[in-house]
């Protein structure tokens, strides 16, 4: 699951998280100038967006979004 929430009240629209996300999960809402989660399922729980957001507007949790088979 990884990225859970972007707090719109804190987001200043700097787009840093969108530039960093390796999985292309986050996009900018051009009109409102806010980042949003577009492709949650492809999030790899790397926490990079949370770490780089200068406003601490992003929260991630380390929970699998898709089922990954266990080896045994």
């Amino acid at each position: 699951m990884g990225v859970r929430k972007i707090d719109v009240s804190m987001c200043t629209g700097c787009a840093i998280c969108v530039d960093y996300c390796p999985m292309d999960v986050l996009k900018m809402d051009g009109e409102r100038q806010k980042a949003f989660i577009k492709y949650l399922r492809d999030c790899q729980s790397c926490f990079l967006c949370e770490r780089v957001c200068p406003e601490n507007a992003i929260t991630c949790i380390p929970v699998y979004e898709r089922r990954i088979p266990l080896p045994w």
Partner: protein, 579 residues
């Protein structure tokens, strides 16, 4: 679709923005290439394994370490499969690359007198520590830009362009606009990383074997795809990486009886043993019904946890969020498993980082990784990337600009956009899950047997023929996911075919061929496209040129021997029987 972007007259095109690709781009510029372009399907320096590197770099310091020992251990632990000429280059170069990274602003842990602080982690070499993979790579990205590398982010390369048998550039699409990108280049460095299958552990799920798949389609020879040693990680938290730090700091691996088990196979290093041994040890516990397994870090001292917070800040944040780390302590055991398979093969490469396609160079994780100690992982990416970039620049200075055929471009464009044109097709996720289910069980690629490898191959062939041609995408983002899923399926086929081809136990254990056979198998398994057929073969390691050679003998593999000694298995009629 919007008009294409065509970038002409490139001297060196670097595909992939990890540490290997970024060193290649920097060194190509330093070697005099005037037009160097580096492309990444995400962003250069913010993607791939490098940006999530777990804080440690195994480094040989010429003024502190014993070179003969380094060579001996690296060759031995590669089971004699390593290129000893490249290993020598690696040992010559690695300390200089570290110092260069220091000068680029990469933050290393230092002692009070300003020297690199080095710790023991997995294996026998001490490692330097850097603070946060993404911060290391941010410094590298900045250095590349300052050197005049032209960076193109968010363009996924789908195919390699060729002219008259040589590399001529690449073609891809923007995952934002869907525009086609055509790169015409005199030489190409392929640095797209490994073939992971979007398995456990965050940080590598965008490294999906795209480069290997494109090279295969272009008729380039690949090698070492039978190597699939996986890492280990948490079963239920989506957290990673950091095992070097955890096990180096005194983390213990225990089975369902609460007993440590790694020491059965490596009494000296125990949990700090190499991955090939650790994953086999875990698989054997599973085979004996002693799961679940746990990583127990509750005894690790607070100072070491504080250091982890500096060196691997992302995973530590995740463990805090999961309630496993409270303050400076790990407070719970973590259920632990073998992660999904990772394809450790790559493009067959010589000691000038040339592939079998003239003008196509490769480096880092896109080369076959042989053994845990030599030119592999981050240190390998540094030394091979730097050399590949320099040699590619030299090549580019001697050849004319490529001649691109419109037919080839048209064919690749058609293939690129096919998933967008389909209606009622298959979701990339379905293909992904089906491949994972075929490959992930521990007894397919960790503990191997012909019957199980063949069954998995049949599954994957079914997916390849029945599902991959129907992959559907709704927009450029999904188009990336569709190509990734297709490439993962192709890499899975190559891995299983290669695993079946090697009829002995070497890096991985076969129950039906338990012998380590130096008389026959000091070879890399190779794969090459021949029309619609996959052609398997072997590239012998040129031992006659090397100083270190194995004894010419065929013996029970040391890990099977250890298992036999413990009464876990016996060998009957040349095959393993479980006790």
């Amino acid at each position: 679709m919007a008009d294409e972007v065509v970038m002409r007259d490139i001297d060196v095109l670097v595909i992939g923005g990890g540490l290997a690709g970024t060193f290649a781009a920097i060194k190509a510029r330093e070697a005099g290439a005037s037009h160097v372009v580096q492309v990444d399907k995400a962003s250069v320096g913010r993607s791939g394994c490098s940006a999530f590197g777990a804080g440690v770099i195994r480094t040989f310091f010429p003024h502190e370490d014993d070179r003969d020992k380094a060579v001996y251990e690296s060759v031995l632990r590669s089971h004699f499969l390593c290129d000893q000429e490249r290993l020598a280059q690696h040992l010559d170069d690695v300390y200089d690359r570290i110092r260069e990274m220091d000068s680029f602003g990469v933050e290393f842990e230092k002692t009070p007198d300003g020297k690199f602080d080095r710790i023991l982690a997995r294996g026998i070499y001490r490692r330097v520590m850097f603070r946060g993979g993404y911060r290391m790579m941010e410094a590298m990205r900045k250095a590349a830009i300052e050197k005049g590398v032209k960076i193109v982010d968010r363009v996924m390369v789908t195919d390699l362009l060729t002219d008259g048998g040589g590399a001529a550039g690449a073609i891809g699409f923007s995952t934002e606009s869907g525009q086609v990108y055509e790169f015409y280049a005199r030489s190409v460095v392929l640095a797209t990383g490994r073939g992971f299958m979007k398995g456990r552990r965050p940080g590598h799920r965008n490294v999906t074997g795209d480069g290997m798949a494109a090279a295969y389609r272009a008729g380039v020879t690949l090698a070492g795809l039978d190597s699939a040693v996986p890492n280990t990680g948490p079963a239920h938290y989506d957290i990673g990486p950091g095992n070097n730090m955890y096990l180096g700091a005194g983390g213990l691996l225990v089975n369902s009886d609460g007993r440590r088990f790694a020491e059965t196979f490596d009494p000296a290093l125990k949990e700090r043993t190499e991955l090939g041994i650790l994953s086999v040890a875990c698989a054997i516990e599973a085979r004996r019904g002693r799961t679940p397994l746990y990583l127990d870090m509750t005894g690790v001292e607070p100072e070491k946890v504080q250091r982890m917070k500096r060196v691997i800040p992302l995973p530590l944040m995740m463990y805090e969020r999961a309630g496993v780390v409270v303050g400076d302590r790990f407070v719970k055991r973590i259920e632990w498993v073998i992660e999904g398979p990772s394809c450790n093969g790559g493009l067959l490469v010589n000691s000038r980082y040339e592939t079998t396609l003239p003008g196509l160079f490769t480096c880092g994780d896109t080369m076959p990784a042989v053994g845990p100690e030599g030119q592999t992982a981050l240190p390998g990416a540094m030394t091979s990337g730097a050399r590949a970039g320099k040699y590619a620049a030299g090549y580019a200075s001697e050849v004319p600009p490529p001649k691109i055929s419109r037919e080839q471009v048209a064919e690749f464009r058609e293939r690129m956009f096919a998933p967008l044109k389909r209606r009622d097709g298959i979701e990339p996720d379905q293909v992904l899950l089906s491949v994972q289910e075929a490959l992930m069980p521990y007894d397919v690629l960790v503990l191997r047997h012909e019957e199980r490898l063949k069954a998995a191959l049949q599954e994957v062939e079914g997916i390849w023929h029945g599902q991959v041609p129907l992959l559907q995408a709704y927009d450029p983002h999904y188009l990336r996911m569709a190509h990734e899923a297709g490439n993962i399926a192709l890499v899975a086929r190559m891995m299983l075919e290669s695993a079946l081809y090697r009829r002995e136990s070497r890096e991985s254990l076969r129950e039906d061929y338990p012998y380590l056979d130096h008389t026959e198998w000091v070879k890399l398994v190779t794969v090459k496209r021949d029309g619609d057929r996959m052609e398997l073969g072997a590239a012998p390691v040129p031992l006659e040129r090397y100083k270190l050679r194995p004894p010419v003998e065929k013996v029970l593999h040391p890990l099977w021997r250890a298992a036999e000694k413990q009464g876990i298995i016996r060998v009957e009629n040349g095959s393993v029987k479980w006790a």
